[in-house]
Amino acid sequence: MAKKDVSATGKHVLVVNDTEEILDLFRTILEDLGHRVTAWSFSPDDLSKVTEIQPDLVILDLLMGPTELQGWALLQKMRMSSATEDIPVIVCSAATNWVREQEGWLAANAVKVVLKPFKVNDLERAVGEAFGLTEVMTSSPAARQRKGSNGRN
């Protein structure tokens, strides 16, 4: 498939998901957009791996794995770590009720949501918006409040 000329915009995107066909799909869509993709399944040392590779964006599923909470746990740990708190995150979820309940927290932490099922444009738009949010995240009142509440400035 022909690719857009994105040499100036290509980013490193980390996709965390336990479903192989979802990982393959995200890789296709994101590489079509010119981004470099790292894809992996959940593991207990996810946070240290995210810290190590410092992706420009993380896309993760919120309901999966044996406890069905690994994505949520990773997201919270990322936002509590100074090394990862400003990395844009997109959560991909089928749990509309859960998303509704967490709407405030997700917005305050600049987390974009793509509800399943979705179409290509939904993901492309969320990725574009997530990258556009990077500067806002580091200077917004919510970001400053997060840093303040973590004891950092």
């Binding site: 857009k4 079509d32 749990a95 009720n97 399943k116 099922p117 979705f118 290509v120």
Partner: protein
Amino acid sequence: MLSQETGVSDKQREILELRTIRVSTRAALSAVSSDEEVERVRTMSTELLARLESDVIRDGADPDLIAALEAARRELWE
């Protein structure tokens, strides 16, 4: 026909679109448990497939794609 922005043919784009809807629908159905959520996923997927079908018909109604769309609809109820 080629998209001016990407150079990707409409058919290639529609194939990717169909794959995206099918894969994300399967993932969604395996992740939800309540009747309400299952119904929401089926309704949303049906709408996405209908919109894609309109595009496919507009672009010449490729028989392979039409058949794949039908298969995707059946999958929703399996």
